[in-house]
Symmetry: C2
Subunit: 300 residues, 2 copies
């Protein structure tokens, strides 16, 4: 069955990614927590804490089935409450403010009426925007998309800009990346082709992120950079709790709270009306937390 | 006009409360930020930072009018988009984990069709539950309610239990207090009587909270208590961003972001799957973060 094939991929991808991040970190192992979903299925959360680079992070696999609540059905515009969902969700919070936060997710959803789709995305949240790295990161996203369709990168890059957005602050979460949802079988693409794209996205994540870790892990920083990191993490918390659909879906479908909220950082800060000093590196970063920046041709 | 009388009370109450908290803190002054609402009216945020007791806190006054968005109209079950709202909102985050976080709010709302009501509440979020203090705090709430109607305390205490609740963790935010909304003119109560109750609630806050501050401000604490405080503050952030209607209303009606989010603490923490040690003071506190505890007769 296709569903089982996708689930098997997700399980295997989790193991691969844990291995890749553990090797890159070099200071701590991911622990494993298995959990069961009340209605059926469950997951495995792999959590790293106090690594050499990664302060806190998770690589979560889940494969659950059950019935959506009426309010959630309405939100998803679904006719049938039965669902099956499997995926891997990743958030990494490094110790150093010089190493960006990152998030990635690949997921597959089947509704009771047989409708099935893939979704996913990768996005980068630097505490300090480095234009070369943002460009290289988007080039990697562009490359994996281009293998499957020329429209994928421009479309999914814009989707990420619109999705990873703190509306109430008119501020993107970071420099974006790609985001896509409801990639169904169409006349143009079979579900197998969508799956092939999602596999490639999944395997593009570790090389792109570990390259940035390795470039930045030894950069010096001080108290000012650490404070700015805590503030930027506060914005990350705002996005995840106010807007993130994965978080909402998890809470609404009785997901495991600790696995869903592993996305929140070890430490975060809110400073009343914080305004970076004019001309500072912090102010420069804010300047780049905007939608619709063409990262592939950004002038460095 | 009644509306203007209520607005004048809210302004005056803000000044009184800032004075009372400043005197109690003794280490810092509240600064003032005035802001204008896009559609009409505005507010004054009074913010304290790095006081002797209070690490971060706000006493916000606002009086705004405008039009509610269609989705918000539906949520409030209102027929007419015109609204006027005035109130004072307060959150205090002390430095010491031995001093509880607190929140209070009094508000008045007028819909375009002339419907008008009061709302408000006071609740206490101890990092470590002290049964004597929780009882004394609820006695103060009971006393102010009893002056106006015998049903008020039991009804509004239950409402606070149900409202200040992190559903996803099956955990109350703290030891509750009172919460009420849509107190309209009825056969039993005139709008003036509702207003008299709200004024009494407002003036009951400072004595109840400053008594607790003064009892606890010199209690010793260490690293373990500080870590627990950061985790409890994380839960506070979860409640405010996921559930709090005041926050949602503020964000949806174009309120001033920094005034709305002054409720978030200077520092907070999320630790994966944190479990207090059996028999610890932290575990004892979790035991009391439940609905429907009768604090007036709790055994100490």
């Amino acid at each position: 069955m296709f569903r089982e094939e996708v689930e098997a991929f997700m399980r295997q991808f989790q193991q691969y990614l844990v291995q890749a991040l553990e090797t890159c970190d070099g200071g701590a192992a991911f622990k494993a927590d298995e959990w069961q979903h009340a209605e059926g299925g469950g997951g495995v959360s792999r959590i790293i804490e106090n690594g050499a680079v990664l302060e806190k992070g998770g690589v979560n696999f889940s494969a659950v089935h059950g019935q959506l609540s009426p309010s959630f059905l309405k939100m998803l515009e679904m006719p049938d409450p039965q669902f099956f969902a499997t995926g891997v969700s990743v958030v990494m919070h490094p110790h150093s403010p010089m190493v960006p936060i990152t998030h990635m997710n690949v997921r597959y959803f089947e509704a009771g009426n047989g409708t099935a789709w893939f979704g996913g995305g990768i996005d980068l949240t630097p505490i300090y925007v480095d234009l070369n790295q943002a460009r290289a990161f988007h080039e990697a996203m562009q490359e994996v998309c281009a293998k499957h369709h020329p429209s994928y990168y421009p479309e999914f890059k814009k989707w990420a800009d619109d999705y990873f957005y703190n509306q109430h602050r008119a501020e993107t979460r970071g420099v974006g990346g790609i985001f896509f949802d409801r990639l169904m079988a169409t006349e143009e693409f079979s579900l197998e082709q969508r799956f092939a794209f999602v596999r490639d996205v999944a395997y593009a994540f570790a090389p792109a992120y570990t390259a940035i870790i390795n470039q930045n892990r030894n950069l010096a920083f001080g108290e000012q950079e650490k404070q700015w990191q805590l503030i930027r993490r506060g914005r990350y918390v705002e996005f995840n709790l106010v807007y993130d659909r994965g978080t909402k879906f998890g809470l609404a479908t009785g997901g495991r709270i600790e696995s869903i909220l592993m996305s929140l950082p070890q430490y975060a800060s809110w400073v009343y009306n914080h305004q970076p000093a004019p001309g500072s590196a912090e102010e420069k970063t804010l300047h780049y937390l905007k939608k619709d920046i063409d990262w592939l041709s950004v002038e460095v």
